[in-house]
Amino acid sequence: MSVPFLLEIGTEEIPDWMIPGALEQLRTKFTDLMAKLNLAADDVRVDATPRRLVLRASGLPPRQQDAEELLMGPPKAAPAAAVAGFARKLGVAPEELVIETTAKGEYYSFRRKVAGQATSDLLAAALPDLILSIHFPKTMYWAGKNGPRFIRPIRWLVALLGDSVVPFEIAGVASGAVTRGHRRLGQQQVAVTIAGYEQTLRDNYVLLSAGERRRKIEDEIRPLGARPDAALLETLVFITEYPAAISGQFDPAFLSLPEEVLTTVMRFHQKYFSVDGGGQLAARFVAVMNTSADPDGLVRQGNERVLRARFNDARFFWDTDQKRPLRERVADLAHVTFQAKLGSYLEKTERVVNLVTELGGGDAARRAALLAKCDLTTELVKEFTELQGVVGGLYARAQGEPEEVALAIYDHYKPLSMEDSLPRTRDGQLVSLADKLDTLRGCFGIGLVPTGSRDPFALRRAAQGVVRILAEGGWETPLRPLLLGDTALEEFFLDRIRYYFREVRGFRYDEVNAVLAAGWDNLPDALRRIEALAAVRPTPNFEPLAASFKRIQNILRQAEFAGPAEVRTGALEPGPETELHAEFERVRQQAASLPYLQALEAIASLRPKVDLFFDKVLVNAPDPDVRRNRLALLSAIRTEFSTIADFSEIATNQ
C-alpha cells in the first residue's frame, strides 16, 4: 500500500522571478531526501503561486522497509572476555552472536534487525530543514533576531501524507490541513484533502498551475491585440494567483512621443502589454489583474489614470529636456559620477573620444562619443534609466545632429545580452567598443574585478559585448594592445572569448583551445581559423596528425629543445627523414598562400610522411648532431604549422 504526499508552504508574496528556481530546488531536495531515506516517491511535481510553493508526490510507502545491520566483532580466536564485551556493548547475550566468515577469517558478529521508521515521522523530522534550505537571492528574518530566514514570512503549512497531517513547525507555524484562498476572492481558511487540493484552490480563486495561468493570460490578451512579450508574460504568471486581462486606452495625442518611451513606460513601469494597431503602436494597452473581473470598469479607469500621469510626466520631461540640447550638456557631465575612483562621466567621455580616434573613428563617431553620455543629465533618463542611450539618440535626432551620430548614440549600449543585436552602424560599434573598453580598463585598473557571481559593474557583459562586436562586426583591430598589458584583463577576455566560441558558437573546447593558443588578437581571424579547423576535423588524416603533433611536442619538451634552429639539409638521412623534410617544405610553401581550410587540408596531408618518420627514424639518435638536427626538423614543423591552431591541444583517441 502506498500513499500520496502534499506539501504547501504558505507565504506572503514571493518575488516572481525567484519562484521557478525555488521550485526546482524544492523538487531536487525532496527527491534527494527520499533517496537518502530509502523511500520511493513517484510523480513528484512542484507548483507555485506568489503565495505558495507546493510539492506533490504519490506512491510513498507508509514505512521504510525493515532492514538488517551486520555488526562485526572480535575474531573467533579472541578471548571469551572480549567476546562478552562485544555482546555487552550491543546489549545482547553472547549466545546470540554468530560466526561470520569473511575474506579475513572468521569473526563474531551480530545481525541486528533495524525496524523501518514511519514515513510520516521521517518527513516530520526532515521537512523544516529542507524547506529552510531553499536558497533565495535575498532572505529575511521575521520572527525575531534568531528566527529562521526565508524569502518572505511563512504564514501557514499544509503537510499531508495520505489523510494524516505530517506534524512539524517552523517559526511557530504548525503544519496542518488548512490552506488559504485568494486574498480577496477566496476563503481565508479552507480545509483540504490531497485528492481535492487543486480543485479546492480553484474554487477559492487560486489557479495552482503556472501553465494554466499562462494559458489563461495568453488566451485573454491575444484577442485584445497585445504584442507578444514572453518575459512580461512570465512575470505576470508569477505575480498572480487568478489572472484576468483587461484593456484600456490612452489619449492618441501621446503617440507623438517616441514609441520607445511609451512602450518602456507601459512595459517596465506598469507591466502592461503594448497593443499593435496596423504595424504601429495603438493608443491602447492590456493589463493583467490578479482578480477575476472588472465589472464596474474601476480597475480599467484606475490603470488609465496612472498611465496618463506617467505619460504626462514623460512628455513634461521631454519638453523640459529640449530646452538644453545635448551639446550644451557635455560640461554637466562633470557632475555625474562614473565611479568614485575613475572620476566623472566628463572624464570618461574624454577618454572614450580619444579611444574612438585611436580605433580609427571619423567625425561622426567622435561626435557621437562626445554626446553619448549627455542623456544621463536629462530628466527623461533620470526617470527611465533603462532608456539611456536610446533617449540620447532620439534627442540627437530631434536636435538636428547628423543621422549617423544619432544612430551611434542610440545603439552604443548594445549588445545588452547574448541575444541582443549589435549596434547597426560602424560608428555605433566603434562608440560601443570604446565605451566598454574604457570601463573595463578603468575598473580592472583599480582592482574592481568580478568575482564569482559579484559583478556590480556588469564587466562580463561589457567584455562579451566587445568580443561579439569584434568577431561578428568583422573588426580586425588587434585587441591585446587595447588592454594596456593588464594581465588580469587579458585573462578575463580570454575567458570571455572561450565562452563565446564554445557556448555561443558551439565549437568544441579543444578546438577553441587549439585556435586560441595560436593567437586571439584578431577575433574575426580567430573565427575563420576555428571554422576551418572544425571543418577539417572529421577528415581522416586530421586527428592522427594532431596526435603526431602532441608526440612532437612531448619529444621537444623531454629533449628540452630550445629551438628554433636551422635544419641542416646535408645532415638529413636519406629515406623517411629526407622525405619528411621535402614534404614539409612543399606544404609550407603551399599552405602559405591558401585560405585556412585548404591550408589545414594541406597540413593534414603531411600525415603519411610523419607516420613513416616516427616508424622508421629514431629521433634520439646516439650522435648528438643527428639528434639535434632531427629535433630542429620537428621543431620547425611544429612552429610553422601552429599559426592557425596548436594541434597538440586537440583531444584524440590515440
Partner: protein, 295 residues
C-alpha cells in the same frame, strides 16, 4: 467622497484602534518618515512599539515649481510602525484600505517586490510596493537592519503615499486638484511652498552658508557622540538631540545636492560623513536602550 484631511483622520483612527500611538510629525526637515526618531530609533532595541504619524517629507531635488501635476518637493506620508510585526499584518493593511472607502472586491491589488535600502542610515529591509489598479499606493517594508545593527524584533513599516491615495480616491489627475478640506484645494494650501522652495533649492540657496551650517551641525553631533562612550550616566545622555543634528546634516546635504553644489569627488565623501554619524548614533541608542531594558 472624502477630503484629504478626512482620509488622514480615518487612517489615523484605524491604526489607533489597532494599538498605535498617534504621533504628530517630527518637527525637523526630513526626507522620509523613516528618518523620524519614531521609526529610525524606535525600531532598535527589544521593546515592542506601535506608532502612526503623518510625516511631511522634503526632497529638494523633486521640486518642480508647482508645475508638475504628480511631483512635489514636499509630500506627505502616513507612516505606521508595527513592532513586532503581527502575523496578520497584510490583512490588517488591506482592511485599512477598506476603511478609507476602497472596495477591494472591485479593485486589483498586487504586491510587487520592492526592497528598501538607505546606505546613509545603514538600514535596509525587504518588502513590496503595493499596487492598486496599477498605482503604487504603499511601501511595505520588513526592517532587517538599522544603523548596521540586526533588529531584535522585526518591525513592519507601512508608508502610505497620501497625495496619491487622495488623488485616486477623488479621481483627480493633478495633486493640486485634491480637495483638502471642504471648499479648499491642495493647490491653495501648498502651491506657494512648492514654488518658493523650488526657487530657493535650485536657484537661491546660499551655498557657502549651507556648507557652514552643515559643518556646524556635523561638528555638534560628532562632539556629543564622542562623549557617549565615557558618559557616567548613559541613560540621561542626550542622544535624541544629537540625532537632530544628524537630521539637519542630511537635509542640508540634500539641499546642497539639488543646488548642484556638491561635486563628484565630494559627494561620496559627504554621504560617508552623514552615514558615520547616523550609524554611530544608532549604535549608541541601541546600547542605551539595552541598558535601560536590562535595568
Amino acid at each position: 467622497m472624502d477630503t484629504f484631511q478626512e482620509l488622514i483622520f480615518k487612517l489615523k483612527h484605524y491604526w489607533a484602534e489597532r494599538g498605535c500611538i498617534i504621533q504628530e510629525p517630527y518637527d525637523l526637515e526630513l526626507g522620509a518618515g523613516t528618518m523620524a526618531p519614531e521609526t529610525f530609533l524606535r525600531v532598535l532595541g527589544p521593546r515592542p512599539y506601535r506608532v502612526a504619524y503623518v510625516q511631511p517629507s522634503r526632497r529638494p531635488a523633486d521640486g518642480r515649481y508647482g508645475d508638475n501635476p504628480n511631483r512635489l518637493y514636499k509630500h506627505q506620508q502616513l507612516q505606521v510602525i508595527l513592532k513586532p510585526t503581527p502575523e496578520d499584518v497584510i490583512d490588517q493593511y488591506l482592511a485599512s484600505l477598506e476603511a478609507i472607502g476602497i472596495d477591494l472586491s472591485k479593485h486589483d491589488i498586487k504586491f510587487e517586490e520592492d526592497n528598501w535600502e538607505s546606505p546613509t542610515l545603514g538600514a535596509w529591509g525587504v518588502g513590496w510596493q503595493v499596487m492598486l489598479d496599477g498605482l503604487e499606493i504603499t511601501q511595505f517594508t520588513y526592517f532587517q537592519q538599522c544603523g548596521g545593527l540586526d533588529l531584535d524584533l522585526v518591525p513592519a513599516e507601512l508608508t502610505y503615499g497620501l497625495e496619491r491615495l487622495a488623488a485616486f480616491l477623488q479621481g483627480v489627475d493633478s495633486i493640486y486638484d485634491i480637495v483638502w478640506a471642504p471648499g479648499v484645494r491642495y493647490g491653495e494650501v501648498r502651491f506657494q511652498d512648492e514654488l518658493q522652495y523650488s526657487v530657493y533649492n535650485f536657484e537661491m540657496a546660499g551655498i557657502e552658508s549651507l556648507w557652514k551650517l552643515f559643518e556646524i551641525h556635523e561638528a555638534e553631533a560628532a562632539r556629543l557622540l564622542a562623549q557617549f562612550p565615557d558618559a557616567a550616566d548613559k541613560a540621561r545622555f542626550p542622544l535624541l538631540p544629537t540625532y537632530d543634528h544628524v537630521l539637519k546634516c542630511s537635509h542640508l546635504f540634500n539641499t546642497l545636492d539639488s543646488r548642484g553644489a556638491i561635486s563628484v569627488t565630494e559627494r561620496v565623501g559627504v554621504i560617508a560623513r552623514v552615514r558615520k554619524l547616523a550609524v554611530g548614533l544608532a549604535q549608541a541608542w541601541a546600547e542605551q536602550q539595552n541598558q535601560e531594558a536590562a535595568a
